[in-house]
Point group: C2
Chain length 148, copies 2
DNA sequence: CTTTTTGCAAATCTTTTGCAGGCGA
DNA sequence: TCGCCTGCAAAAGATTTGCAAAAAG
């Protein structure tokens, strides 16, 4: 499995299509969440999405957001990430198995993607241990240049 | 930073000593938790530790366990791990910066350590992005041989 | 028109906090 | 003795569940 490509040509139409293909109905809430994920530069939490619309006419229930994100995750449309602060964050899953890793600033909590992944060695080792259907997660934690 | 060594010669005396050195009082609860971590083959959650003693004469409060684990984490005696199921797990921190990574079975949730870590390339890349004080986490998720 | 989805209320689960009494050094 | 620790009760924060009404196809 290779990874590293920057996401390209992802638009709201294509995402809506993936929702339909997954057998889900396309509601305004679902499209709104997809648009939010598309425009947000880094992984976002359910509550952050909620606050973006809270009070506005497009407001939606936090529960709805959790439910939609869970369904999207099951259909591999989004990926759930956890960085150790007790809050799950979500980002759009890239096409065809491509994925990336993250650098998290311990000070400002900002998350930056790293488009580099060469873990062939590691993967072979784990397969030799008897594991199948492998996926992985690699995250770096540090202090970003802005916070130093 | 190199990593890969199996833990050796860790005993309860040495651990008690680390607690004292960190300026903490040595209580029976703290020693009990250290012994539990020492004997448990894989990362364990606060609740699992609680259940090990619940009902017995050595029973301790869940809150106490959380508080002790947090203090131990601050003193780098234990490491907190999260694998995405909403529960934090803990394991003893190995000496002198050595650490290891994990393979988690998606079926039975068992966690196995991998004593392999060659991420020099990756670390250089992230440093080039301007980050300092880097640490990292690398986990593999798959189906173990027993569960296939 | 049928099935899925949403909103609201309430529950659940993990982890944290406040406070008074207890214990280690 | 003195201050750190523990236990109990309660709170807090994230996420889930039940159910009736609303919307999608």
């Amino acid at each position: 499995m290779k990874c590293g490509q920057e996401r390209k040509n992802i638009n709201i139409e294509a995402l809506n299509e993936r929702v339909r293909k997954a057998g889900m109905k396309l509601t305004s809430q679902r499209t709104q969440i997809l648009k939010t994920l598309l425009n947000h530069p880094e992984p976002i939490s359910a509550d952050e999405i909620f606050k973006k619309y809270d009070g506005r006419s497009e407001a939606m229930d936090l529960v709805t957001i959790y439910r939609i994100l869970k369904k999207f995750e099951e259909s591999l449309i989004v990926s759930r990430l956890e960085f150790g602060d007790g809050v799950a964050r979500f980002e759009l899953t890239l096409e065809s198995g491509h994925h990336h890793h993250h650098v998290i600033c311990r000070q400002c909590q900002r998350v930056e993607p790293i488009h580099l992944c060469d873990l062939e060695e590691h993967i072979k080792t784990v397969e030799a241990m008897g594991y199948k259907s492998l996926s992985h997660r690699l995250d770096f934690f540090g202090i970003c240049s802005r916070c130093q």
